[in-house]
């Protein structure tokens, strides 16, 4: 049996087991991500790291969107809170020149409780609403947090952002930081996968599909939504924490509503109905962004046309095409 048919056989087996096609997709992606540094040049590592960080950001967003059925337009607030927490801890240490690896890891982890706390406050109000009002309120809170960071100059340096961030010497080379990001994102993704497959994850889907029935079952709908909102915010914070040392700086745009649009695009491009969808979306979106901007200044036009085509012709996202193809093939074979 050739390698290709072996792969498709295992994909089919996974589909037959009524598993999400996400498992084979994630495994294939993991192998590709591990092999990526074989491509020569530093640029591919930068793109790869960005794909992973934004991919985790989008995965966390999809906890709210794909699994809970709500749309948050303020998710970047938690990404930005995480980025600023880590940046504010790292900046004086980096400037003093004594940044150790352990301290660095602790600074990354410190982002999680801060973002979680932010998500707890925002979520407390947001989960009282659904649909368009949920989207609006999350956007309003996101903008509010943006303006606080933007105008609190003495603490956040406002518009200037925080410059001069660095990973510790051990993680400084692009390839090492890439693998470091890969490990963190892979662990976080595994945790997210576990959450979506837990009774809690199934409660979320139930709530998405039929909130009234969920409430009849005696489930505290708001509490489940709030817990999920905080989880999503925490993972977004972790993604944000990785951003500063990677980009060497953080700025208020990380919390802005344009940044909040990024995980929305990624989820819809990849397929919000699939766990791995946002990650696939990040590969397409970030990949396009990195390469298209080299050839044209009209990146917004390009991504706009891509999104337009996706919405009109592939509303389920790219993974739905793979899924549909697999299902058709399975039906064809007795």
């Amino acid at each position: 049996m050739s390698q290709k048919s072996l792969l498709s056989a295992s994909l089919l087996a996974a589909a037959r087991d009524r598993l999400d096609i996400s498992i084979p997709v994630l495994l294939v992606l993991a192998v590709l991500f591990v092999l990526l540094p074989l491509i020569p040049g530093e640029f591919i590592l930068v793109v790869g790291t960005e794909i992973l960080i934004l991919g985790l950001f989008a995965l966390s967003f999809n906890l709210i969107h794909g699994f809970m059925g709500q749309i948050s337009f303020g998710h970047a607030a938690f990404f930005g809170l995480g980025a600023y927490t880590t940046a504010l801890i790292l900046q004086p240490l980096t400037a003093a020149g004594g940044l150790g690896t352990i301290t660095f890891l602790l600074a990354i982890l410190a982002a999680v409780p801060v973002s979680a706390l932010g998500a707890l406050v925002v979520g407390y109000f947001c989960v009282r609403l659904t649909g368009i009002y949920f989207a609006m309120l999350s956007m309003a809170f996101g903008e509010l947090i943006f303006y606080v960071v933007f105008s609190w100059y003495s603490f956040t340096k406002g518009d200037d952002g925080i410059q001069g961030l660095m990973p510790p010497p051990l993680l400084k080379s692009p390839v090492v930081y890439y693998y470091f990001t890969f490990v963190v994102v892979a662990l976080a993704a595994a945790l997210l996968w576990r959450i979506t497959r837990s009774p809690f994850g199934y409660t979320l889907r139930l709530l998405r599909d039929n909130p009234a029935r969920t409430a009849f079952l005696g489930i505290d709908v708001r509490r489940v939504m709030l817990v999920n909102f905080v989880l999503a915010g925490s993972f977004a914070g972790l993604a944000g924490a990785l951003w500063g040392p990677f980009a060497r700086s953080v700025s208020p745009t990380l919390l802005g509503w344009a940044q909040s649009g990024v995980p929305v695009f990624m989820s819809l491009i990849g397929g919000a109905g699939y766990f791995a969808g946002p990650l696939v979306g990040s590969i397409v979106y970030t990949g396009l962004n990195s390469y298209v901007t080299r050839f044209t200044i009209y990146w917004p036009l390009t991504i706009g046309l891509v999104i337009l085509a996706m919405v009109l012709f592939l509303p389920g996202g790219l993974l739905s095409v793979v899924d549909g193809w697999l299902k058709a093939k399975r039906r064809g074979e007795p």
């Binding site: 969107h65 009002y133 956007m139 309003a140 509503w257 649009g261 819809l268 036009l301 706009g304 337009l308």
Partner: protein
């Protein structure tokens, strides 16, 4: 901070004119949402397009005639007409496919339009800000100066608002539009062409946006990015006032316009933040807006 009566009056007037513009923009947004259940993210970007078209028409006219307020009239009307056609075509070829789709997909499509139209503007008009300078003398009032053009904005806003009310309340087509908000199927069963009504409502909303941009051009320079600020304020207005309520939209627009105008003096960077505080408060206290009723699903 102390404030003399003259500057208070100026802030009030500029707040009112800003509120008027927000009203014209939000009224279209709210009308489109009420009738077709489409939240048009690109509404303010179409507003921006209308502003640029007005700028080009006015500049072209100004090479032939003496620049004056009167010259602005054909430029604004021309831009309004062009935007009506743009709106009609957008509905016909894109928006129409989104009826019955999920909210995120609708938002995504109209967001794609923001990116596309924004870049088209960049291609045609470049990145520098554009404005029209009208030869108008400021009026001295209480030791300060008031730009009398503010009254033109407030007046024309009031005229369009009255027209909109008259159109919806008194004309046959307006009644059909209002009926379509309640029951699309029933209206359709009566033999009325729903697709035409929808295209018209969308085009009308976009045309009013274009009109308000043109009218506003002599007091604020327009540039890319302004559409983002504005659409967020429109969402704030529509939510504060309540979806589908024209009266609510008017009150909320004036409130937001005036609050913005005064907060800019006190906290320039945070003027929008003040609006969001109001928005958050309204959403928590009355999620359906000050004048709204619980929405149909």
């Amino acid at each position: 901070m102390s404030m003399d009566f003259g500057s208070f009056l100026i802030q009030l007037l500029s707040g009112l004119s800003r509120g008027m513009m927000l009203f014209l923009l939000s009224a279209g947004l709210s009308l489109i949402f009420g009738v077709m259940n489409i939240l048009n993210f690109a509404h303010a970007t179409l507003w921006l397009l209308g502003g640029y078209i007005t700028f080009s028409l006015y500049t072209a006219l100004a090479t032939q005639f003496e620049p004056s307020l009167l010259l602005l009239v054909p430029a604004v009307l021309g831009s309004t007409a062009i935007l009506f056609v743009v709106g009609w075509l957008l509905e016909r070829f894109l928006i129409r496919r989104m009826y019955g789709r999920e909210l995120p997909e609708q938002l995504l499509l109209t967001f794609a339009l923001i990116l596309i139209i924004g870049d088209l503007i960049k291609m045609i008009w470049g990145v520098q800000n554009r404005r029209i300078v009208l030869p108008i003398e400021a009026w001295p009032v209480f030791d300060s100066f008031i730009n009398p053009y503010l009254f033109v904005i407030i007046g024309s806003g009031a005229v369009v608002a009255t027209f909109l009310w008259w159109f919806l309340a008194r004309t046959r087509i307006g009644k059909i539009v209002r009926a379509a908000v309640y029951s699309r199927d029933m209206v359709s069963a009566l033999g009325i062409r729903i697709p035409t009504i929808y295209a018209m409502v969308f085009a009308l909303g976009v045309a009013i946006a274009g009109f308000s941009a043109g009218v506003f051009l002599p007091i604020i320079p327009i540039g890319l990015g302004l559409d983002m600020d504005l659409i967020i304020q429109c969402f704030a207005v529509v939510v504060i006032g309540g979806f589908g309520s024209i009266a609510g939209t008017l009150v909320a627009s004036l409130l937001v316009g005036i609050v913005y105008s005064f907060s800019v003096l006190i906290w320039p960077d945070g003027a929008l933040a003040v609006i969001f505080v109001i928005l958050v408060a309204v959403l928590i206290w009355r999620p359906y807006g000050l004048f709204g009723t619980e929405m149909r699903s």
